[in-house]
């Protein structure tokens, strides 16, 4: 009998949550409309969200009430642009489900300009991405492929996908970087956040094949981020071997590209080498320097000095 009561009680609770969810989700989220999420993912996520909402309604309200996109607030920032990222990041892991709710189901109803809405979306995607929680995967996929025309939102979505970077995310980013479609540039940045060898290899290939300096500059920046020695160090000893491998891929690609690029692209490649800091870099640079044109030799020498620090 008690078991039946508990069962009925839990069914009632589930139905209540479902009704609340249906009402709440009718509006749609910042990056997804109802029905866009795969059914299973939608059900799982909505359940998690409603359970968490019951326990922490204030966090959901805080996400809906983000101050940094309100003119009366962001006009006071030193750079007076709408900006939600730091505020949402400050919520930490507790902010994940409230933010996924806002992204997928229940967008803030505050009247926002397009600029403010984009800043809110980008900031939320950035904050979600930094949590690197697999529960965000389905929402982030839709965010990337959802067709936002704002480059900042696109990049934030791609970088969030990149930070997650499971097999599906890696495949998604490689697909867009390879296709050269409208998501290609954002996806290049996304691959930079993906700390996996396959991502680094794809970026290395893109750098080698870059049709122009502008493309090379974007790819080199992402490769530097992918190979960031400090980031790999922060990931701890378990990531050390992979980190060395990724950094070597990056180092070789960057040294190879350096003499072939000029201006801002070469400068960016140099900066990325400073990020990668692979132990082989001095030798790779020295070898490349020996056969380089005089101006490139000078640039390589400057880099060597910087790396020596």
């Amino acid at each position: 009998m008690n078991q039946l009561k508990r069962l009925l009680g839990s069914m009632t609770a589930a139905m209540t949550i479902s009704l609340v969810a249906s009402a709440a989700f009718a509006q749609g989220g910042l990056v997804a409309q109802p029905g866009q999420l795969p059914a299973a993912a939608r059900a799982a996520l909505s359940h998690d969200i409603e359970v968490f909402r019951a326990a922490h309604p204030e966090l959901f309200q805080a996400v809906l009430d983000v101050k940094g996109v309100r003119p009366e607030v962001y006009k006071g920032f030193q750079n007076p642009l709408p900006n939600a990222a730091p505020e949402l990041r400050a919520l930490g892991p507790a902010g994940l489900l409230p933010m996924l709710s806002a992204l997928a189901f229940d967008a803030p109803r505050t009247a926002l300009t397009e600029k403010e809405r984009n800043a809110l979306t980008a900031g939320m995607l950035e904050a979600v991405g930094m949590l690197r929680d697999p529960r965000s995967a389905a929402v982030l996929h839709i965010a990337l492929e959802g067709g936002s025309r704002d480059p900042v939102v696109r990049r934030a979505a791609a970088e969030a996908v990149g930070r997650l970077c499971g097999d599906a995310e890696l495949a998604l980013l490689i697909k867009h970087t390879a296709s050269g479609d409208e998501l290609a540039e954002a996806s290049i940045h996304g691959l930079g956040q993906c700390k996996r060898m396959e991502g680094a290899k794809q970026l290395a290939a893109l750098l080698a094949a870059a049709p122009d300096d502008a493309t090379a500059e974007v790819v080199a920046a992402a490769l530097g981020v992918a190979g960031s020695s400090w980031a790999w160090q922060a990931m701890g000893p378990s990531a050390e071997a992979t980190g060395l491998a990724v950094r070597e891929i990056a180092a070789r690609a960057l040294v190879d590209a350096f003499p072939r690029r000029g201006g801002a692209a070469r400068a960016r490649i140099g900066k990325s080498m400073l990020l990668v800091e692979h132990p082989l870099l001095p030798a790779l640079i020295e070898k490349a320097r020996a056969s380089a044109q005089p101006d490139v030799q000078v640039a390589f020498t400057t880099l060597q000095k910087q790396l020596a620090r």
């Binding site: 309200q61 805080a62 009430d65 990222a85 730091p86 990325s272």
Partner: protein, 650 residues
């Protein structure tokens, strides 16, 4: 680069055969064309030190015409047509000689209108801002003689001459007259290039005051910043009137050239006497108040403006000309940012506050931008700074008044204006487009040092911050928290989230470490530029630990940016870093006190270290993406600088 100021000689004339000296006569008085007759010795002397006198003629020989302009070419604060040096160098400009005048854009009568924007002399203090030009008397001028005072056409749109009448009243007579409805950077209603003087005025001599209504805007400006004043005397005021000549002016016309004083930025080494900052943040005010009191500097709390980013609102600078007794006289001039915080509401433009609360006696205001409501965060003046004086023999460069440095994205007219001033340019450009706010003061500052150069560079260093945290961790302090008691705010519901984080957590934060390393690479690239341009050695650079975070691809200080500081007269006010407390001591504070506040790095005029202060800017500045320098703005009064611009040979 050979400076445009170097030994500039616009017109070469024979040194004065002409001599006007009190009581002299006879043999020194040139004889030439002109009327005869006997005149008594005449002389004038004014409170401004201008003097002119003429000898008596014997009546036997006709006295030579006196066609002579006096300007303060010897920089003693007096324009003396009888002064040998003033006469000899009236068309020169070099490190020793040459006359100059002020852009008179302060408001001496406190009527809310800049003195150059109206057509009158606004009292004695305004009169003191006018450089003097004196036309020597020719007591023997024949009846009907007419003087012709000229001002070159290129200067006439920007310069104005006032004439002192026989009754002592001053009247605008030449140059840019009337309303300047489109503002001071546009030609005004009337441009007068020639003024006729009566026979009586020719005989008595005329005292003139000259002012500019603006600075030189660009090197391509039709006005070069020089005013060419000319003077001739005709036998009658008619189109076919014949000019008198003299030995010194065989063609019958005398010229004198004066240069408008440039707008000169203050740097961190200026002798500051005032600091401006908003009064909106009590902890910030408390911190600045304590530091400025120690430095005996006036703290002007801004109580009537909601924009707390005081550094960004306007750039403080000065302009000056030689004054009496070798003391420069001049003005503080604030250059406004083109945008405010309430879109397209002019009431929020910085110039509105400047007009209301800054403009006054010896405090001028300026708008360089072509159009209000243009520009971005890059045009905030935290992105415009001054590298103190330096010389780099390797590049053959010398900047006795320092060199203006700006970051990315600054409106082009601003750099053009800076360079047009000549004395602190060409400006140096650094790359700041990787920063979310985008300002040079986010990673650079400068403090005095007892070294040959006289200062050292402070530069933000993520590398040092990381190393310090790693050492603390290695020493067993990984669990120690930083940002203790500090919070971040989320949502209208004011959910407050603790900002505290342990050293271990910070070092394991992939995003902070990655962003910090990206920032370090950008800083390093800027340092390559700075080292090459300035010839800085490593021991002239002091790294200041700072970690960065990423906002949509751009970087901003994650730890309070302690390099973003207020420096004045041997004192520094850093943001409180709220660093890890190890054994009860904030490791970052202690590091700054050790390296900046002791003789270790030879800082301060005596090399004994700076007075290091900390300001709690966390709640009201740091988490809004700025720090102490962003919220404060210092300025100095005359003599403004230990180096005068006119002696810089630039």
């Amino acid at each position: 680069m050979r400076s445009l100021f170097t030994m500039r000689r616009w017109l070469t004339l024979p040194l004065a055969a002409f001599a006007l000296s009190s009581g002299c006569g006879g043999s020194d008085t040139p004889v030439g064309a002109g009327g005869g007759g006997t005149t008594a010795s005449a002389g004038t002397s004014t409170a401004t030190g201008v003097s002119a006198s003429v000898s008596a003629s014997t009546g036997v020989a006709p006295a030579e015409a006196v066609i002579a302009i006096g300007v303060d070419a010897d920089r003693d604060g007096k324009a003396d047509p009888a002064g040998t040096a003033d006469r000899a160098h009236r068309n020169d400009f070099d490190e020793k000689f040459g006359a100059s005048f002020l852009a008179n854009i302060d408001d001496d009568d406190k009527n809310g209108v800049r003195d150059a924007d109206d057509d009158i002399v606004n009292g004695d203090t305004d009169l003191d801002d006018l450089a003097r030009v004196v036309l020597a008397p020719w007591p023997d001028a024949p009846e009907g003689a007419a003087g012709k005072l000229g001002l070159d056409a290129s200067a006439a749109g920007a310069v104005r001459l006032f004439k002192k009448g026989a009754d002592g009243a001053w009247t605008a007579v030449a140059g840019s007259l009337g309303a300047c409805a489109d503002g001071p950077n546009k030609p005004c209603a009337q441009q007068v290039t020639e003024v006729t003087l009566t026979t009586a005025e020719v005989r008595a001599g005329v005292e003139l005051g000259i002012e500019a209504r603006r600075f030189r805007i660009s090197k391509a400006d039709t006005w070069t910043g020089v005013a060419d004043v000319s003077y001739k005397i005709l036998d009658r005021d008619a189109a076919d009137g014949k000019p008198f000549t003299s030995t010194e002016t065989p063609d019958g016309i005398d010229h004198a050239k004066l240069r408008v004083a440039p707008w000169v930025l203050f740097g961190n080494l200026a002798p500051f006497d005032t600091v401006w900052a908003s009064n909106t943040s009590p902890p910030f005010v408390t911190g600045i108040d304590a530091a400025t009191k120690k430095g005996a500097v006036t703290f002007n709390k801004i109580k009537n403006w909601s924009d707390q980013w005081t550094q960004d609102l306007f750039q403080t600078a000065w302009t000056a000309i030689p004054g009496a007794g070798g003391v420069p006289k001049g003005l503080r001039i604030a250059n406004a940012r083109p945008w405010g915080r309430n879109d397209n509401q002019d009431s929020s433009l910085p110039i509105t506050w400047l007009k209301k609360s800054y403009l006054g006696p010896d405090r001028g205001i300026l708008e360089v931008y072509k159009k209000k409501w243009t520009g971005t965060s890059f045009d905030s003046h935290g992105n415009h700074d001054l590298i103190p004086a330096y010389e780099n023999p390797a590049k053959g460069t010398k900047y006795p008044l320092g060199r203006i440095v700006i970051g990315s994205g600054v409106l082009p007219e601003m750099g053009i204006f800076y360079d047009a001033q000549e004395v602190q340019g060409p400006h140096l450009k650094l790359v700041t487009d990787w920063l979310y706010v985008g300002h040079v003061d986010e990673f650079l500052s400068y403090v005095p040092a007892k070294t040959a150069r006289g200062w050292k560079l402070l530069v933000a260093s993520a590398r040092l911050a990381k190393t310090m945290l790693e050492k603390a961790k290695a020493d067993g302090n990984g669990s120690v928290h930083m940002f203790v008691g500090k919070k971040r705010y989320v949502g209208e519901s004011n959910v407050m989230i603790s900002a505290e984080v342990s050293i271990d957590e910070a070092l394991a934060d992939v995003d902070v470490l990655q962003a910090s390393q990206e920032a370090q690479a950008e800083i390093d690239a800027n340092m390559v530029i700075l080292k090459a341009e300035l010839g800085l050695t490593d021991d002239e650079i002091i790294e200041i630990p700072t970690l960065f975070e990423d906002i949509t691809g751009y970087k901003v200080a994650w730890t309070p940016g302690t390099v973003n500081l207020l420096a004045f007269n041997g004192h520094v006010a850093h943001p409180d870093p709220w660093g890890p407390q190890i054994n009860g001591v904030d490791m970052w504070k202690q590091d700054l006190m050790d390296r900046l506040g002791t003789p270790l790095n030879g800082l301060g005029a005596e090399g004994s270290g700076l007075d290091v202060n900390f300001v709690d800017d966390w709640d009201d500045y740091h988490i809004l993406d700025g720090e102490v320098h962003c919220g404060s703005n210092p300025e100095a009064s005359a003599p403004f600088s230990s180096v005068t611009w006119w002696e810089t040979t630039r």
